[in-house]
Amino acid sequence: MSHPVLTIEHLRVDFPEVVAVNDLSLIVEAGDVCGLIGPNGAGKTTTMRAVSGLQECTRGSVKVDGYELAREPEELKRRLGFMPDFCPVYDQLTATEFLDHFARAYDVPDREKRIEGCLELTWLTEKRDALCEELSRGMKQRLVLAKTLLPDPQVLLLDEPASGLDPLGRIELRKLLLHLRGLGKTVLISSHILTELSGFCNKAAIMERGKLVMSGTIAELGQKTGRRQMSVKWRNADDQALQILKGAGVKNLETAGQGATFEFDGDADALDGLLKTLVVEGVRVTEWRGSGDDLEQIFLQSGAKELM
């Protein structure tokens, strides 16, 4: 059974002329991959920095695995890995030396083996002796991720990990993040590029103007934001299928070849019931896709603005 690993309670961060984060509470459970999404200036990076202890909070508390930032910062730091939205590397060190620096700082046991493991995990083994300044932006990003993974943290905070990467770099990073998810890491990842997060996060938290607009599993958010955009395809029984859909009270029903698109107001159970009805009535459903689970859709319907 999953338990809360990262708990943020009533977090508030004040900047000289603005409240950057205002009364933010969020719980991320073990194994969750939670996307922190919002427009530029919503307070995502400030939240990440406050959680990692780099930004002073006005109020509120942050706990990682029960250790509170204000009381036991060193214990918390051992359990938390933070990757900022840029690549802080020592240009004149090799990739191995860079990781060695942080392995010593974290007092990682069996240092050399762990460094090799992290280089392999981030596909940088071949670049182990290259100077950091010789690495591409994507490689530097992966090296910083390797550094973040060195102490095997329970929680990973990834702030705009794909910013500044070219398409190939993004694809590589996405693969890597999927791999991390497979390893069961708890991740809080921020981005304003929602396609980056789609299919990767099981939870999301939407921020706007320093406040948490909504949070929950993707399905819950889809439900909260209201109508789902659905598409269905079948091999037979056009009329029968359309009748069933009309009978279920779908809106904006449009046929498209052997299939249809429609909007559905009901919850996930009602949607499951609709699919069951179609199948039971003999409609051979070949595709059943809901864009209500899509982060972009959820974000747009949440009311938050300025998506980039």
């Binding site: 004040d14 000289p16 002329e17 603005v18 409240v19 950057a20 205002n22 427009p39 530029n40 200036g41 919503a42 307070g43 990692s52 202890g53 780099l54 002073e56 006005t58 109020r59 060193e74 730091k77 051992r78 938390l80 933070f82 900022p84 840029f86 802080p88 590397v89 020592y90 004149q92 060190l93 030396e97 060695d100 620096h101 942080f102 010593r104 700082a105 974290y106 007092d107 550094k147 706007e208 103007r209 320093g210 406040k211 603005k305 300025e306």
Partner: protein
Amino acid sequence: MNITENPIFLTQKRLTHRTGVLAAVLIAALIGLSLLSGLIAYLADPKALTFRSPQEAGKVFYGWVIGVEILVLILGGFSKISKVLADDRKAGLWDSNRLTPLKPAAIVAGYWLGSALREIYMGAVLAGIGLVIVVLAKLPVMLWLGTQILILSTTLFFGLLASLAGMAFQRPQSGIILLLPLFFLQTFSFAFPKFTIINFLLPIYGIVNLFQDPNQAANDYNDFRNWSDWPGIFALPVPPILLSLGLQFVMGLFLWRVTVRKTANPFQPLLLRWEAIAIFALLVVVQQGLIWGIWHGRFPTVFASDHKFYERESLLPIVHGGTILVGVLILALASPLPERVRVEALRTGLGNLRLVFSRSAVSLALALIAVAAAASLPHFIFSFGHSGKAWALAVGNLFVFFLMFSLLLEYCRLRFKRRALGFVALWLFVLCVLPFILAGVFSSQALAKLSFLAPGTVALAGSGSDDLKYLYLVGWTFIHFCVVVLLFVAWRRQWKLLLATPSPLAPAR
């Protein structure tokens, strides 16, 4: 953590060696060997150079060696450490290190001792060659040992100062701002080598003292120019090396605390209030102690007969001016940013002027005034009936000056925000410097007394007991006090406005 296992130290060492140390070490060696060869040439043929003895030649060549050493270690080391830290901050590496479980002290130690390794290698080479020069010239080894200890302690002291500069300033070259007051005060110190604290904080007196010939101590033309004697703290002789090491050690402890605290939490104010008071007390008490032996508590009666009139006339006003300068610097460093006080008010729910007063530099100014008054009182202790008025005026002057500065600084920060520094400078110019300029333009001494600096310095400069003069000075001090009251009213209003302002949310998108 052992420094040789400190990851930041090891990385800095790696980085230093990667960019090469051989050329730098060879340059140091060439400079040192050139000076050594000059000595050898003199020893081989004493007529070739115009020295009176091998010892004199040795002192000259060794003096050059330590001159270069000071340049490399202290100034080179300072700029290197502050640059490395500022660059690492800019690149996000300082934050990356802060995110590790490394203790803040280990992070500071790594940068402090590891960033300027190239300069340390160069210094070590020069020190080695210096030892050869001292031995060849048959100079006492204590000269080498004493000067090297002083250079080492000053290097460490300036290294900490550089660490602080690297943490506090965005641009590495801005760190030099921390050195400017030292160099500014240094210009006055050569007139009174034994009587100014700056000659001991920077160990100039200690180094020059070691070069003095004890047999020729009496050849200085008066006591004020004497570099041979031991200085006295309240007439108690103290070896200059010990005084320098002690001062640097205590000040270094404070600097260490500040840098470690700044690493643990960069959002905290630079100086805690008790630290600000302790640093000010240390500097002021030692400085007053150094000059106590001139009057032995009977100001203005001078005991040493060879003191020239203008020297004894100017010393106490200069110390008074120095006290104001140090106080202003400390007030500026300890003064909290208004926004921090507002955030604290939000955090504690105590958004009132009592909280403001307890955090503000104004209450700190009152403490500094008390310390300065107590430290200067011993000069008047046995002649209070005669010259207590001068002391009271000097204290009154400190009172209005420190309050004026702290109120002005916070008012400008509250009122003008990012443009505050310019307005503080403008008003300080108007209140302190402009009266002197107008006095020159209109040939009127009365105008000069309008300056906030004037009453204290004029009162302490006079050895007579001209009641009319004191009456005038009291009048000017009262006018200054009225300015302070006006500033207080404006300051109070601005704080109330700030605390009453509702917290703005992030801008609408």
